[in-house]
Symmetry: C2
Subunit: 349 residues, 2 copies
């Protein structure tokens, strides 16, 4: 039996616990072992919850339990989550997470601690929700130099832009609609201003190039100023407007990187990623362009990625992880052609 702990019993945390319950049979058959969620750490009580008896408030119980070797951190943020993750890795426990903020800000340090302690720090769910992208990039493109990454990496903004196109509503109206449906938070800044997409392009770029990329040094523009008029004019020209995270390694020490709304042709592979779907195009020198597409957020899609990382931790083989390091690098926004005729948005070919 494998005992695990889940830190945080919000949307993703409850998804992880429920997923292991719902798909117990097939998972146990596949890994030839039983997965037991021994603890759920949360500050709330969850009276009457099916898994109430697993909920604890004292982190040290998990830290000191020698039977728990794998922990899912789905608290979010870079404060308590950082402290807990560090302690767990130092105590020789593997940690998996959906926490893009923490991975983008502290990934380098946490990966080094994990390596030093012969445990894993995995974060498939931190980019693209349920879409397999980090693991395939690390494992399936291992024989490639990765040169370029272009992605629609934020479900909230993609939902808003899709609704503006489909329902011909303003940004404000589409945002309110997204908030009503729970696709956008009461304070939507991290999404609509591109901060979330920025964290994700930084994680993928750090992984691809082996260079730590600080999200605070990236040129980021959100979608809050996109008008319905721009969207309609772009559409008439055969383009859709999407919030794009972009990065390209142009030399050993130079990376073109930015987050901004861009116009892409309707026939572009990314163009049909609508609503809360994400799509990430990765260019490898041998494989060419590959794209990964799926739901970029949501309880069970994200839990799917967290759970697959937990199952990955069952493998005893600790590989020489591809980690990223702080190196001298120039980050810059490339010059892009503008789509004119009243649209005034950069074009990504």
């Amino acid at each position: 039996m494998v005992n695990i702990a889940v830190l945080g019993y919000g949307t993703v945390g409850s998804g992880v616990v429920e997923l292991f319950d719902i798909n117990k049979e097939i998972i146990e058959k596949r890994v030839n072992d039983e997965i037991n969620v021994k603890y759920i750490l949360d500050i709330k009580d969850f009276k009457g919850d099916k898994f109430e008896n697993k909920i604890i408030k004292d982190f040290d119980v998990i830290l000191n339990d020698k039977d728990v070797n794998i922990v899912a951190e789905v608290i979010g943020g870079a404060t308590i989550a950082y402290e807990y993750t560090k302690k767990l890795l130092e105590a020789g426990k593997s940690v998996v997470t959906s926490n893009k903020e923490l991975v983008a800000l502290k990934g380098e340090e946490l990966l080094k601690i994990a390596n030093k302690n012969n445990v894993k720090y995995l974060f498939e769910a931190s980019v693209g929700g349920g879409i397999p992208v980090i693991h395939p990039m690390k494992e399936c493109l291992k024989a490639n130099n990765i040169n370029e990454i272009i992605g629609i990496m934020n479900g909230t903004t993609n939902y808003i832009l899709t609704k503006m196109i489909e329902d011909k509503v303003s940004f404000k109206e589409a945002l309110e609609n997204a908030q009503k449906l729970g696709y956008a938070e009461a304070n939507p800044d991290a999404d609509i201003k591109g901060i979330d997409a920025c964290r994700k392009i930084c994680i993928l770029s750090s992984l691809a190039y082996g260079i730590n990329i600080d999200p605070n040094k990236i040129d980021v523009e959100g979608i809050e100023n996109i008008t319905l008029d721009q969207i309609e004019k772009a559409s008439n020209l055969g383009y859709v407007i999407k919030l794009i995270g972009y990065s390209k390694k142009t030399s050993e020490e130079k990376i073109s990187i930015f987050v901004a709304p861009c116009a892409i042709k309707k026939t572009h592979p990314l163009a049909n990623a609508n609503d809360v779907y994400n799509a990430i195009l990765v260019n490898g020198d041998m494989v060419g362009n590959v794209m990964f597409y799926g739901k970029g957020a949501g309880k069970f899609p994200t839990a799917s990625a967290v759970c697959s990382d937990i199952l990955e931790c069952l493998k005893k083989d600790i590989e020489n992880e591809i980690i990223w390091e702080t190196k001298p690098v120039t980050l810059m926004k490339p010059e892009l052609k503008m789509l004119n005729d009243g649209v005034n948005i950069p074009v990504l070919e």
Copy 2:
């Protein structure tokens, strides 16, 4: 140092050897070891070839060399390749392959032999060329029941259909064009009649459902009767015609499965996979729809997948592989709505 052997020095085989040469530095850094192609088995001589000194004609040299533990089989077909693969696995060597015919026909048996001998039989390159799809399905969707697979899985036919649409040429003309460019073989039957796509949907379905699916029992229709008129009428209705491999597990003992040209909406995620690109949509009960897109054929894309499987074999951990078994199952072609108005092609929503 890790010694490997490559069986077959054709397009894919030479791609594998060259890839390890070109990307030597980054690969060795990532796996922390040196990869040495010790032998290349081929019946021809390749006088003057850069790797001429590695070419041998006697398979037994490889079979009996205790220093070679990983072999890439890129001969193709299900005769010699089958015999060699069986002997290698029985001798305790891991085998990786791009050979879809062999995997579709003998995968169950070969996976069992590999398991028994504690080695790996990996075949990422057998479906979708360089696209990571088999490994992500096995590893990243491990917490999901996979219910449905829809894919454009043959680059040759997709190239022909794309040219018919873009250049408004007949099937015959587009095929001749594809042959000139090396995208179609002199005898193009396996591609245009859907046989190749059938092998691929069988491999993915066997893997997804754990049930051995015999490619000889599938309803298969090719693209040889598709007319430019049908394509143009479909386009006017907002559809594109693609050769689709489809499968859906409708109950424990029933699988809807077929290969046929289908009409899909231009806004469908698969619709923008053009030319030799492939795209495969997989539905998991937790993650929803995910899609994998990239070049479905070609020297270096396919070599990228073969090489990543070779690197995967370096991991010492032999997992409890998800293999497929012969079970009682009913395979049937589902009833599909037809796109009328003179098109007369089934519609995939």
